[in-house]
């Protein structure tokens, strides 16, 4: 018999669901604040393009809205747009990575403010999960605690050390849950095409903003940091994609991003749900 068939348990659950509205409302304070913050973010969609100085060999496309940030990075050889959605995708999920295909997934990146020594301490520890079987290249294979690190220091002096802490598995907290609450999540999808490496970097800071609604101002600051040029470059540096001095950004229309990705963003005023769909669509496309 399923435990959910137990009448007593059901009674307890029903009773708990019906607790006084004021307690539910009280605990939702942060949700309401987050909603306001998200509302303020609406219409602030940003899209930037990065190009490798002088060579025209690479592009960065980024967008942000409603507390979600996403960055798409394409590194291609030669000139012109690569329709990666139609390419030979060999990497998508951790399973795919673990099966030996190219690729690195950086996951569970925690913003600087979560570090133990940061002034605004959320109690977390910096962690970047790297799932990398073959690595982006031989010299870019990460090892736990190994030498492959990149440090990002923001304007407030928060140091973020991007250090792979796990290989081949997701981090877990004490309860055995996937431990990605309250932080920005970063996935880097990579694959090889035509002898060149290609990357899609997804940054999703939604949960961070949602989880820390009582600190919306700081969350906003962190969001900016997460999306900042330096931050992106730190990731790329860690992935051994680019040198910092070899890159710059420029504004790219949303429509171009949509055309590039083959997805609809719903215009510049996109909602959480729409951006979640974009993320899901990207994952599906890359699969």
């Amino acid at each position: 018999m399923s435990k959910y068939d137990d009448a007593g348990r059901k009674k307890i659950e029903e009773a708990w669901n019906a607790i006084d509205d004021k307690y539910i409302l009280e605990a939702a304070d942060h949700t309401a604040e987050q909603t306001e913050a998200a509302g303020r973010n609406r219409g602030e969609l940003k899209v930037v393009r990065g190009s490798r100085n002088g060579s025209g060999r690479s592009r960065i496309v980024a967008w942000m809205g409603a507390g979600i940030a996403a960055v798409v990075v394409l590194v291609v050889a030669g000139i012109g747009t690569v329709s990666f959605l139609n390419g030979n995708m060999t990497n998508k999920s951790s399973d795919a990575v673990n099966s030996g295909n190219y690729g690195t997934v950086l996951d569970n990146y925690r913003p600087a403010a979560e570090q133990e020594n940061a002034p605004d301490n959320y109690g977390g520890e910096p962690a970047v999960t790297v799932i990398d079987k073959d690595g982006l290249s031989e010299d870019a294979t990460f090892e736990p605690g190994g030498p492959n690190k990149a440090t990002y220091v923001d304007d407030n002096g928060y140091a973020t050390e991007l250090t792979p802490s796990h290989i081949g598995e997701d981090p877990k907290n004490e309860a055995g849950e996937r431990d990605d609450g309250g932080s920005a999540r970063v996935n880097i999808y990579a694959w090889k095409e035509g002898g060149e490496y290609m990357f899609v970097v997804l940054m999703n800071a939604r949960r961070y903003a949602a989880d820390n609604g009582e600190r919306t101002a700081e969350s906003g600051a962190v969001l900016e940091n997460v999306l900042g040029e330096e931050e992106v470059l730190a990731y790329l540096k860690m992935a051994r994609v680019l040198d910092k001095d070899d890159f710059s950004f420029e504004v790219l229309p949303v429509s171009e991003l949509e055309e590039l990705l083959g997805v609809s963003t719903g215009g510049e005023d996109v909602s959480d749900a729409e951006l979640w769909q974009i993320e899901a669509g990207l994952e599906e496309a890359l699969g």
Binding site: I12, W16, E26, A28, G124, D211, N212
Partner: protein
């Protein structure tokens, strides 16, 4: 739009009520749904069902707190969806953990008094919550009503995950003891 105006639209059977509910509370309800079903697709479905549920419930219902009223509908729909195995794989089982934790602890090795009504148990739970310090109460409700993860709660209150986990263990035990004392649990 004020909640009273939205509720009036429901009572007038004006479909703008749904649009207004979506505009004002979709994020709130979405956050509840996502904590349970974990995937955006399933959460979106829960939201759609929420508006339908509200449309059917109002009237005759006249919610005093519309956000919580809608949130409760969302929560029920999402929990039922997971338990019926209708969710996509990602996170489905894991998502039940906070909700199972509470009933597991309370019901562990004990039976619920047959004659006890849900409303009676709710009254004991409300009394228990009322006696808690505000922060502990919010943490307890965040975990077991909203289904938030330890990390989320820890981040918001500036505690370590371990401290939050320990605090919740103690609070659950206190609630269980309270229910035993009141004769709800045997």
């Amino acid at each position: 739009m004020e909640d009273a105006d939205i509720i009036a639209l429901y009572w007038a059977r004006d479909e703008k009520a749904i649009e207004a509910s979506y505009q004002k509370y979709s994020r709130y309800c979405m956050s509840i749904a996502r904590n349970i079903v974990q995937t955006d697709e399933d959460a979106e479905e829960c939201l759609n069902d929420t508006w339908m549920g509200a449309w059917e419930a109002i009237p005759p219902a006249r919610p005093t707190v519309l956000s919580v009223f809608l949130g409760k509908i969302t929560r029920n729909i999402a929990l039922n969806k997971v338990r019926a195995g209708k969710c996509l794989k990602r996170g489905g089982e894991k998502a039940m953990l906070p909700f199972d934790e509470l009933s597991d602890t309370i019901c562990d090795g004990r039976s619920v008094e047959e004659k006890a009504e849900s409303s009676e148990i709710t009254a004991v739970m409300n009394a228990f919550l009322a006696e808690l310090p505000e922060e502990k109460r919010k943490i307890f409700v965040s975990r077991y009503w909203y289904g938030e993860e330890y990390g989320e709660i820890a981040g918001r209150y500036g505690y370590s995950r371990g401290k939050v986990a320990m605090m919740l263990e103690r609070l659950k035990a206190k609630l269980r003891d309270r229910l035993m004392k009141e004769g709800i649990l045997q």
